[in-house]
Symmetry: C2
Subunit: 363 residues, 2 copies
C-alpha cells in the first residue's frame, strides 16, 4: 500500500508519498536524477545512519573528493547556525548546483537543518525529506517550515521552502526509542483534535495497535495527519492566518519546554500537557464542553503521554509565552478549540486565563 | 521631486521611493511605525555612520539595554555567515518580533547582509532598504535578492525577500569615493544596454552632469534603472527565466573579479569589462552589429570606466565562469544582446567564443 498527497497551491509544489513501497520509490527517483547528471547530497545523523545506513546508500553521490553524505551529531544542539555554515561550506566545496538535491534523511533536527541549508544555499536548491521519526513524518517534514536554533530560542532563524519530495516509510518507526515515539503521538493527538473527529475515533479504538507500532495502522494514521496538514498549508503557506491552528497546544508546550529544559520534558510530553492546557483555556474563552478534555486526558494517558506535571511555577511559563516568536506587538495569538474539528486562532487570552490553563495540568 | 515605483506582482509588495524628499519620508514612516508600537533595527557600517549618522537617528529604536543600531566593519569581508549569526543574536536578544522592521542603511554589503538576516530571522521580518551607493540604489536594493558570502565564493547563501520599502536619496551619492561611484556607473550602462535606448542617449548626452554627480540628473537616471529592474523582477522574481538578463556582462565580470582578486578590480570596472566581452560574444553568436560595441567603449571611457585590461590569462577565467553559481548541469546560461534593448538569455556559448570575448578586452 502506497499513498500520495500533493501540495499544489504552494510557491513550489510538494509531493508526499508514504507506505511500505516508499523506500523503493525513493531509490528509483535517486537513480533517475543521477542519470540526468544531477547529484544528491544527504544529511543525516549518527543514530539514523547506524540504523538505516543501508537505505541511504542509493542516495549518496560521490564527487571530486567530497563525500555526498554529511553525518551530524544527534540532538537539537546540532541544529545551530554554526552547523548550517558547515553544511553550506560542504555544498560549495562539492560544487553543488541549483538543480542538485539536498536529502534530509532523519528526524526533525536533520530535516529542519538540512531544509534551512537547502532553502538558502544558492537562494534555494531542491530538497527531499526522508523523515525517520513519527514526529517528523506527521509534522515537520511536510509544509516547508525549516529552521535552526539560536542560543536565545528554538527555530528563531529559518525559511519557508517546500520539499519537492517527502518520502514517509513506516518501517522507520520500528527503531524509535519510546520517548521519540511518544513525541510523535502527542502531535498525532493534536491533528485528531483539529480534524473532523474520525481520526480521534481511530486513536481511541486502535490504541493497542498504535502502541505495538503496527505498520499498516501507523501508515494510515500518518496519511490522515499529513492530508490535514497539507490542506492547511495550501491555504496559508507562510503562516499569516489559518496555519496558526497547527500551533494548538504549542504556545503552552514551547513555554513548558523552554522553562523546564528541553531534556527534562520531551516534545511529545510538552505537547500533551500543552494540548490539555489549551483545552482548559478553550473551556473558559470559547465554551468548549468540559467532557472533551476528559476524553482527551483518557486518550493521552492510554497512549502513555503525561497529563499532569506537578509543581509548575506559573510566572516563568507566562513570561516565556510572552516571548513566543508568534507574538506580535498586539500580543500572543492563541489557538482555541470550539469543539473537536473546530479550531480558531488569533484569540486574545489574558494572563489570568492562561493561569487557569496551567492549573488544569498541575495537580 | 519625488518618484515612486511599486512592485506588485511579487510574493510581497515592495514600494520604492526616490528623490530629494525621500529622507523626510523615511523619517516620517519610522515615526508612524513607532507610534504603532513597532521597532526599527538599523544595520549600517562605520563609513556610512560617519557620513550619515544624523539621518539615521530618527530610525533607531532603543530597547531594554539593547541598542537598535548595529554598525559593521565596511567591506565585503563582513558579508559572512558569521556576521549574519551576530545579527540574528542581536535581534533575538532585543526581542525583535515578526512585525518589527530591519533597516539596511548602507551600500550593497549592508543591504545584502541585513536583507538576509531579515529574510531568515523568524522566517522573515519586515525589511526597509536605504541604499547609500549608486550601485545599491540602481541594483542590489531593489528586487529582493539578499545574500552572504562563503569562503568559496560570493553570494552563495541567500534568499528572495522583498523590501517593503526602498528609500533612494540622491544626496547620499555626494560622499561616495570615485571608485564606489564608478562601480555604480558600470551597472547603469548595463541598464542602458538592456532597456530601450533612451537611457543610453541620456548617458551619452549628459556625461558631464553625471560625472559632476548632479542630483537631479542622477535621480532621473536611477529612476529609469529601477523602473526597468522592477518590471523584470515582477515577471520573474525567483530568477528562473528572464531575470537572467540582469546578468548581462556579469558572467565575465564575476570571473574577472574572482580571478584577479576583488581588491584589484572594483565591481564597476569588472562590469565595464564584462559588458564589452559580452558584446563581443554577442557579435559572434547572435550577430550584434559591431558599431554597438564601439559606441559602448566610447561611453564607458567617457564615464571613466576601463575598457581594456592588459595581460589577462584566459584559462583561469574560463574555469571561474564554469563554476558560476548560475551554472546548471546543462552548462552556463549566457546573456547576449541582439541589439540595444534586445537581450536574450540562456544562450549556450562554447569556450572558443568566450575566448574571443576576452580577446576583445585584453590588448
Amino acid at each position: 500500500m502506497t499513498w500520495r498527497i500533493e501540495l499544489v497551491g504552494t510557491r513550489q509544489p510538494s509531493v508526499i508519498v508514504g507506505g511500505e513501497g516508499a523506500l523503493a520509490l525513493l531509490a528509483e527517483r535517486a537513480a533517475m536524477v543521477r542519470e540526468a547528471g544531477l547529484r544528491t547530497f544527504v544529511v543525516t545523523d549518527e543514530n539514523v545512519k547506524a540504523a538505516w545506513g543501508g537505505s541511504m546508500a542509493p542516495l549518496i553521490s560521490g564527487s571530486s573528493g567530497v563525500e555526498g553524505l554529511r553525518v551530524l551529531s544527534p540532538g537539537e544542539a546540532g541544529k545551530s547556525a554554526a552547523s548550517a555554515a558547515i553544511c553550506w561550506d560542504w555544498l560549495s566545496k562539492a560544487g553543488a548546483r541549483r538543480d542538485d538535491i539536498v536529502v534530509a534523511f532523519g528526524g526533525g533536527m536533520v530535516g529542519d537543518l538540512a531544509g534551512f541549508v537547502a532553502a538558502t544555499y544558492l537562494r534555494g536548491v531542491r530538497l527531499w525529506q526522508v523523515p525517520t521519526t513519527l514526529l517528523s513524518q506527521v509534522d515537520s517534514s511536510v509544509g516547508g517550515k525549516v529552521a535552526v536554533n539560536l542560543p536565545n530560542g528554538k527555530n528563531l532563524v529559518g525559511a519557508f521552502h517546500q520539499p519537492e519530495l517527502v518520502v514517509i516509510y513506516p518501517g522507520f518507526l520500528s527503531t524509535l526509542s519510546a520517548s521519540e515515539y511518544s513525541s510523535g503521538l502527542g502531535e498525532v493527538v493534536k491533528y485528531a483534535l483539529l480534524s473532523d473527529g474520525r481520526l480521534l475515533d481511530v486513536l481511541e479504538t486502535k490504541t493497542a495497535a498504535i502502541l505495538a507500532r503496527d505498520p499498516a495502522t501507523l501508515s494510515s494514521i500518518v496519511e490522515q495527519c499529513v492530508a490535514f496538514k497539507a490542506a492547511v498549508v495550501e491555504e496559508d503557506e507562510t503562516d499569516r492566518g489559518r496555519r496558526a491552528i497547527l500551533n494548538l497546544g504549542h504556545t503552552f508546550g514551547h513555554a513548558l519546554e523552554s522553562t523546564l529544559g528541553y531534556h527534562v520534558l520531551p516534545h511529545g510530553a510538552a505537547v500533551s500537557l500543552g494540548l490539555l492546557a489549551a483545552l482548559a483555556v478553550s473551556e473558559v474563552v470559547v465554551g468548549l464542553p468540559t467532557d472533551t478534555r476528559a476524553r482527551v486526558v483518557r486518550l493521552l494517558a492510554n497512549l502513555g503521554l503525561p497529563t499532569r506535571m506537578p509543581g509548575l511555577t506559573f510566572e516563568p511559563i507566562l513570561e516565556a509565552m510572552g516571548r513566543d516568536k508568534k507574538a506580535t506587538a498586539a500580543g500572543i495569538g492563541f489557538v482555541c478549540l470550539d469543539s473537536i474539528g473546530a479550531p480558531r486562532w488569533g484569540v486574545r487570552v489574558d494572563d489570568e486565563t492562561l493561569r487557569r490553563g496551567l492549573k488544569a495540568i498541575t495537580p
